[in-house]
Amino acid sequence: MDNLLEIRDLTYKKNLKTILNNINLNLQPGKIVALLGENGAGKTTLMRVISGMAKNYRGTVKLSGESKEAQRKARLSFTDSLTGFNNSTKIKDIVKFYEIIYQDFDGKQFEQLRQFMKLDSEMRLSEMSKGMREKLIIALAFSRKVDLYLLDEPFSGIDAMARKKIINSIILWKPEKSTILVSDHFVNEIASMLDEIVIIKDKTIYAHKSTEEIREHHKSVEDYYEGLYDAEDE
């Protein structure tokens, strides 16, 4: 099968400091993949490079065969931290902004997602809990039809109910051929929805495994992930 994402010999430095070192990664279409690693391991930076937001890297990044940043940007949806919006902005105004900026933004799809997430479009950012904010971010991301969805830590600091809603929305709203790369530093609670895990450690890709393959060796995905760190402590 053709790769949806192809990263070759990627190195990224910021202020002379190496953040990502010699990254090679292939992702196939139609997968849900977790990007795991400790805080500061470079998960967000890797997503920023893939999305074309971080520039001046060495190596190649191809998405659906396209390596130019503008072409890549049109084929992916990267979760918005919403920091660009004033706190008094209502959900419906954020949606208007999205409709103008992204030609592939599907307002009807957003409405369905908004209802699924039980969000009120009159609500302002300042009135929203962390969980509601993450639900909104995911609803916005999935309202675009793209090849790759980059979800940057959607599960951090939210309660179990919000997490369940987000997991269900990922399972139900992912277009069949699209791939999702979702970052997190825990794997336990999301393991059952994953096809693969990619682990960043020591600035590079430390492991890339199929979750079912790990289980076939009678190991849980969580044990496998934690084992990588324990081995180092000994």
Binding site: G30, K31, I32, K164, I167, N168, I171, L172, K174, E176, A191, S192, M193, L194, D195, T211, E212, R215, E216, H218, K219, S220, V221, E222, D223
Partner: protein
Amino acid sequence: MNFKDSLPIYIQIKEYLCRQIITGKLEPNQMIPSVRNLAKQLTVNVNTIQKALRQMINSGLLVTKRGEGNYVTSDKKLLEKIKRDMIVAEQRKFVQNMKSIGITPKQTHLILANHLK
């Protein structure tokens, strides 16, 4: 449904659906839920569901009607065979577990006979 962490999920889904069929919760000729519905119900991804269903289709337990969905087979012999296989597997598991705590097959036999009295 809660999955065991250290066993492939597609195998657990297969076992779950087999059990539904054997116990009659899913009847012969009955349509099973769609891939999407199963994914939602079990919170696992569509690829995993598809892998489980593909194997059940290959073994003849499920039959695909194009454009409609997947149905439980009406092949009574096959259903009986699946049930027998399941009984054998459960027996093995039980005997194995007893062995692992130091009970011989003979003792297991007595314990079980006593228990079922």
